[in-house]
Symmetry: D3
């Protein structure tokens, strides 16, 4: 069966095109010649980065409008680790809408006993924990720790990988995680090397969510 | 990138070849020309159906041996809704091993607020609940209800679909489920029509697990 | 000590002035001659009623702007039972921001063992439950049941009180609640009579939140 | 409306009059000229301090008798952080009976994500935790830490404030609390300065309970 | 080894000697010629039945005094299904003090997946649930249902057994219990026949607690 | 009543006869002249030690066969701290089957507020935690810590006791345990001295399970 006319729309809710390009590159392994198209787009109305609660709230309705007015996609992925607008987007369409934080954690739960999360900023951890509590997914949370770097800094650079390794090792050794979720859409380029260094599975949440979207789309009648 | 030399091995732990063939057919939409091979096999040592705790225990080590000695697969899926042998298989290999009950529930959690499960036999519900409690995934369980039919009866037949519809409607209307998981590897043929009838997402757990395996395999370096 | 120069600002996030007037009237018993001023305002940008997730999302940033730019209030109360914008408002000011759903439930927990909630619309219950799960306050939830009426209908009318009594009795007798929370800012006029009819405490959430705001303001140095 | 004929009776279950006077002083900001009277009394039968389980049990029935025979109060507050006799007092009267531990924690939950508790004695922590578990309010508990001082020592003195600051800082920085509850009726004099030093809300539980009693009384028909 | 100089003291906190005699008779199977003595006593200060919270509170300190001044027993069992005085008795002695509710439930958890409780009075259920929540033992509670009879009525009579059977069957069939705890010290005479009728294990809590006391005593050095 | 024709069969699922002899010796205090026989046996098919998930799975069906074909025992105890085969053995017989991990923890819950577990190997902790989560018994878990010794090493030797004391003290002082469970069937010889050194109750799980079996057997009609 040829699924290549189907489309998964991955929306980066911040307006940083470099992040969108990084996401796009990270999804290459999930593109198959007769599989669904995976298209990445930048939310025009988004802030340059989603670092505050106001940033998070501000993109909810623009995302919902995008979802409601798009008539080409079979499924949507919101590519920000806070899952902004997830519930309002689901209200706006009957098509599947997946959040990368939710899918990242769900995927981690299929690969280990207890998961750790690498956040970028300390200030995001409370927001992430609220989402986990709401989803009743804290039962196997080992811990969440922040890099203490800006989003921009994390996209590239060996120093970033070193810092991620140190934080990941703390999650593994002090908190007892046996699987780690990268708590940001912009970390994917580091996933393979981080996994090699830590010796336990490392989940990129956008890849996790697009995988689940791929299934939802391919399996639709 | 061509992933077509990679292989996902889906193991039906019961020895009922008809079930294996049904699983194989249900996975067609997840086969892409340049994607991983999805191969279904029947566990030679399996009982004809896994209905008792003894059936469940009896396939654990045969599954682990299969996993340990296979040198062609990049990931494994155990295609029985009790996830027999899941932990011992994970001990036997570093490659991902996914259980369909676990993946079915995790996928449901990405599609709705509260999930219901359609079991075949009443006697299986306690076993399923033990697994959910162990995974700390009961927080959004709406309920589990049994068809009260044999595994053989559920594979085909309009009467089965009618019975599944009635049970699914009870999960939706009385228990508050807004997504339903089919609690058996052999129900996939009914998924699309059941979903149409119920008007809420219906998850086939084998399809869910193979989707997650597809991601794990495709994303490996 | 004279606290009467202090001000509590109660914001009705919908633009229905009749609801604001009802809230204002319900707060009369909490106004003391030398106590904080309790001022009720209508959010200009609000929809006529907050019934959908989009309505809920749409008022978050307007509420945050109101909170951030107001320089007269010592504390804020968001008077909608979905607590829209609660977290972004807290980010926008160091002054206390209280949500009526949160305070209604917390107050109920001081008055009974298990609480029931009377919602207006079935469709709001999932949103309310998400908030309760996030706050880890489901442990003593007896149940939530909807009136199946519009917000407008609930503000007045004997038929409304009868319907609330029936739903409250079901929460008490079938679900085991010994305290009931009115799940809407616009039901306050019915509280006393409903409590008399049910014979168990009935909590108006706006009154509960303003009480807690009164304490926070009066106790500030 | 003039509420000044109504009375809230705050009972200090220990027989230390200095503690009662401290409580009385701490409640001054909640007294309004036309608001309910707030009267503090010392339980004649109480021990000098409530430090053991026997102290705690010993005051339950005397409190219940006081509640049952008082015919002037509209609500009662039990001013000991172990909430002795709470359930038997509720059985003894239909008027609201509030415990300061319960109300202190509930109020903290309206002001922060995760709360810490400053106990006086290590030996009280287990008793406090039993009450929190019973109330299903442990989900957002950051931790409880003891001063390791006697009740008498904590009532006054700069050394006490320094010790409270150190313990509060540990709750904030090591345990992740963003709101702190003072786990004793006799610490109120330190609240404002402790809050300034810690930079996060500090809740005096007696003030919290009397606030909630004020609402319950003022709102009674 | 001869343990017959050791003594387990079972205290009936109510002053109904007929209940004490019934308890004594029910413990006969746990008396071995060279095993610990099992002695039953009636608390002189106890009320005729423990039906209210005041009854429950009133026996705590008398029980603690009994425990503290007894110098012959190696372990104590408090034989009332509300476990009155459990924590204060544990403070009063280093010897084991066991509560029958706690031990009844713990024993049930070793015999089934989900337990039901047969209470005598509706009014006791909240008190029992508080204890279960405090002990974090609600995870596998199927339900608790009351006979709606007086304690006196339950001690004997075929009508009682019939009523217990009906309630037990509801716990089994409607609530999903596969083991039942008798929620009163005075029901032991019915245990065997009730178990036969229900076809699932029925736990008498006094027998369960004395069994655990027997182990604690016999195993002491 | 003479119960001495009744038999409790304690099965050591590993084939190490020295462990079986140690278990047998530890049960001497539970043997009464007119009480049930307590017989210890070694599972012929067992591995020399149960250290891996494969070891654990491998004994399940042999245990179930032993249980199903034995016609002399009134109750069975599976004497390995992972409770292998517990559910399949329960399916194989209507007689009580008790697991020592389950009974050790349940007994600890009757003796303290929060329990700690001393494991032998780090690798076993995840397996133990899965069982605790499944049983919903993690609510009062203080922590589990491993000795980092082989099973053989732990059976005897002063060095073992010293190591157990250090680990037990960490559970007590750092994790807050006030009762400790020995997480292995082969540690019983150290129980009394470990308890003396730690000053809190120490539970040997085999003794705990046989005590509960003793009750179940003695109380059968």
């Amino acid at each position: 069966m040829d699924r290549s006319t189907q489309r998964i729309l991955v929306v980066n809710p911040n307006s940083n095109e470099a992040v969108t390009r990084g996401i796009d590159a990270a999804l290459a392994p999930l593109r198959f010649s007769d599989g669904p198209q995976i298209e990445c787009t930048t939310l025009a109305e988004g802030p340059f980065g989603i670092e505050s609660q106001a940033d998070y709230e501000g993109v909810a309705l623009p995302l919902a409008r995008l979802v409601a007015t798009d008539n080409r996609a079979s499924a949507f992925v919101i590519a920000c680790y806070s899952d902004p607008g997830l519930h309002v987007c689901r209200e706006a369409t009957d098509r599947p809408v997946l959040g990368i934080a939710e899918c990242g954690v769900l995927t981690a739960l299929s690969r280990g006993e207890r998961f750790g999360v690498i956040a970028i900023l300390d200030g995001s951890i409370r927001r992430h924990l609220r989402a986990l509590r709401q989803a009743t997914l804290t039962g196997r949370l080992a811990g969440e720790r922040a890099l203490g770097m800006s989003v921009a800094e994390t996209v590239s650079g060996e120093a970033t990988l070193d810092r991620m390794t140190a934080v990941g090792a703390a999650l593994r050794d002090e908190d007892g995680a046996d699987v780690v979720v990268m708590g940001c859409a912009g970390m994917a380029a580091h996933r393979t090397r981080l996994q090699e260094r830590l010796g336990i599975p490392v989940i990129d949440p956008t890849q996790a969510a697009v995988t689940m979207a791929l299934g939802a789309v391919a399996l639709a009648a």
